[in-house]
């Protein structure tokens, strides 16, 4: 039955097109960019490959290091917040009745069906000074005042004499909110997959042996969900690290991430070699993150965790 697996012809015929595709449209362009990162601008458009390391040296300038650092911090916060919010959501979906589970999962991936740009603009509508978030807060403020007035405390202005809308947009917080919103499904889905496989009787056994709900969660659920946590973390961290639309639209002047700088090199600044060097530094960072995951995974395997 499985003879075709061993036939070289079939092997080549089926694996050649995807391989070609990868080589022509991914590896070769990537190599070109890599080579370019060792070049210099020659005039306005021409690039001379001189083997110089000047682009990398320039990338290590504190100015850019700070942007790298900020990107790491943003991506880190995004990952941690996604995990903290996503874990209860994934747990809730796993423990929901079988009838509700597909609907809840659908709700999680529903945002994917809308263009990122539209979703980001929608977030602007939510966060801006006269947006839904502030409307809601103002409504709460009004209600609070009404209650206070009913209690006879109306004249003291306990909640301030005027509602001050929060500055939610065009700052670092807005960027992290946007990144969390965009990447949340990437966290929830692997977590769900890991928790779904988790044998319920393990939790019951922990409770039966005297563990509190919280203790059982920490000592049984979290360790067994670790592969999902790591996958989710990687799936959120890497794209968040390289995102440029969200900081571009939601961020202020000082919330630029490394991808925004790279974009500027390729477009506005027209300095392709420097952009290429920055791109590759970002890629090395990404590889570092993946290596960490591989190491953690190997350790988990050695401990026998599934």
């Amino acid at each position: 039955m499985e003879d075709w697996r061993r036939t070289p012809l079939v092997f080549w015929v089926t694996s050649l097109p995807p391989t070609l595709w990868l080589v022509v449209f991914f590896l070769i362009p990537l190599a070109l960019v890599w080579v370019m990162s060792f070049g210099e601008l020659d005039g306005l458009i021409d690039i001379k490959i001189t083997g110089t390391l000047a682009n990398y040296a320039r990338a290590l300038d504190p100015l850019y290091l700070e942007v790298f650092g900020k990107s790491l911090v943003f991506a880190g916060f995004t990952t941690v917040i996604s995990l903290l919010v996503g874990f209860p959501v994934a747990l809730a979906i796993v423990f929901a009745s079988p009838r509700w589970r597909p609907i809840l999962l659908l709700l999680v991936i529903l945002p994917f069906w809308t263009n990122l740009l539209i979703r980001t603009y929608a977030l602007i509508a939510v966060l801006r000074v006269r947006g839904f978030a502030n409307f809601s807060l103002e409504w709460l403020w009004d209600q609070g005042n009404t209650v206070l007035a009913l209690m006879g405390l109306g004249s003291y202005q306990l909640l301030g004499d005027r509602f001050e809308p929060l500055e939610l947009l065009y700052n670092n917080t807005a960027v992290v909110i946007g990144l969390v919103y965009v990447h949340m499904p990437f966290m929830i889905l692997p977590l769900y997959a890991a928790l779904e496989r988790l044998d319920r009787s393990l939790i019951e056994a922990a409770l039966d042996l005297g563990a509190s709900q919280f203790r059982a969660f920490l000592t049984v659920v979290v360790p067994l969900a670790l592969p999902g946590i790591i996958s989710g973390g990687i799936l959120v961290f890497i794209p968040a690290l390289g995102s440029f639309l969200t900081p571009d639209l939601l961020g202020g002047t000082d919330s630029q991430m490394i991808a925004n700088v790279i974009e500027r090199q390729f477009k506005g600044a027209n300095d392709w070699p420097f952009g290429a060097a920055l791109s590759f530094l970002l890629m090395y960072l990404t590889f570092a993150a993946l290596t960490v995951r591989a190491l953690v995974n190997r350790r988990a395997e050695r401990r026998g965790g599934a």
Binding site: A205, V220, G305
Partner: protein
């Protein structure tokens, strides 16, 4: 061992409904201190549900559970003086064997050196003393089951609950583990409540057995009583193999019931104190090993006897089951005979015309 002194577990009119379906239906029973108690019944009869209610993993819809004199309503699973061995063992895959066994002590705040010592002790008890550093995936099914056992025993619960602990093992290992479980129970003196759908398991291990059907307890008795004096056709049929003759009670004289069965020439006579009324429909339940096969009719006229022809012989190793046609109107009668001799020298063979006979003390007449 069936010292029915003070009950350690009292189940009082307990029901559990999932929607309108009653998984456990008004069960009342009590389990004595130090008993080896078995819940036996077909799949889906509510055994696990009842056990889980004892463990606190499921809340009764109705009724009260009392363990060691304390009402369990409102007491969560992690505060009950019981521990459970799960059907799937539920051994934590990410912890070593020693950590698994020590888990219950650790979450109760026992000091490290004591945890080690007691966990090691519990492992020795289940003969896994040298396996503490292994991970669960490096164990066989039987060893994993013993880890689960040690883990549940280490906290010295008042009651140990076991949900089909042997169902995942092969026949040989199962038989061995039965013995080990019984020995272990005698060593530690903890009350065991075991769930099983394997009648051999229940008969060989338990001091008392509750037979369940459709969420209700049909009969609660020690194994021998359950086997010899089942109260209903369901119990008779579920425990062991049985021949059932339907008939009408013709007469009752001096504790001897005469049951006229269509298809049999003579009424079946059974000695029994507790008898159904004359005229009632009843069933005579007769174990295959209590029937004798002979070439001649029996000499004792008080013995039950009927002629028949051997239609089928099933070889089961230590016994053979002879399927005998006594009447076209009745199903084949099963008769078990020990294979004392080699099969080639069987006293009877296919198509032999024989007599089946059994005494009045064999079998029971049931009206349900």
């Amino acid at each position: 061992m069936s010292t029915e002194t003070t009950p350690i577990v009292e189940i009082n009119g307990v029901s559990k409904r999932f929607g309108s379906f009653a998984a456990v239906d008004n069960v009342t029973l009590s389990i004595g201190q130090g008993e080896f108690f078995a819940l036996l019944g077909p799949s889906g009869c509510g055994k696990t549900t009842l056990l889980r209610m004892l463990a606190g993993l499921e809340l009764p819809t109705e009724g009260r559970l009392i363990i060691d004199g304390q009402d369990m309503s409102g007491v969560p699973a992690n505060q009950r003086p019981v521990n459970m061995v799960f059907q799937s063992y539920a051994v934590f895959p990410h912890m070593s064997v020693l950590d698994n066994v020590g888990y219950g002590l650790k979450v109760s705040g026992v000091q490290r050196p004591e945890i080690r010592e007691r966990a090691q002790e519990a492992l020795a008890l289940v003969k896994l003393g040298d396996f503490g550093q292994r991970m669960p995936d490096q164990l066989s099914g039987g060893q994993r089951q013993r880890v689960a056992l040690a883990r549940a025993l280490v906290k010295r619960p008042k009651v140990l609950l076991l949900d089909e602990p042997l169902s995942a093992l092969d026949a040989k290992l199962r038989e061995q583990m039965r013995l080990e479980l019984v020995n272990l129970q005698e060593t530690v003196g903890i009350t065991f409540v075991i769930v099983t759908h394997d009648q051999d398991e229940a008969l060989s291990m338990a001091s008392r057995i509750a037979v369940m059907e459709a969420g209700q307890v049909r009969q609660l008795a020690p194994p021998a009583e359950l086997y010899e004096f089942p109260k209903t056709r369901f119990v008779a049929d579920f425990i062991g193999s049985v021949n059932m003759f339907e008939g009408r009670v013709e007469a009752v004289e001096k504790d001897v019931i005469r049951l006229a069965c269509p298809g049999l020439e003579r009424p079946i006579e059974v000695e029994q104190t507790d008898t159904p009324p004359v005229g009632a429909t009843a069933w005579a339940a007769l174990r295959p090993e209590k029937i004798e096969i002979s070439k001649e009719p029996p000499s004792d006229p008080t013995e039950n006897a009927t002629p028949g022809r051997i239609e089928e012989i099933t070889y089961l190793g230590e016994v053979s089951i002879y399927h005998v046609r006594v009447s076209e109107a009745l199903p084949l009668v099963k008769v078990a005979m020990a294979n004392v001799d080699r099969v080639t020298r069987r006293p009877f063979t296919w198509e032999d015309e024989v007599y089946l006979s059994w005494t009045r003390q064999c079998g029971v007449v049931l009206d349900r």
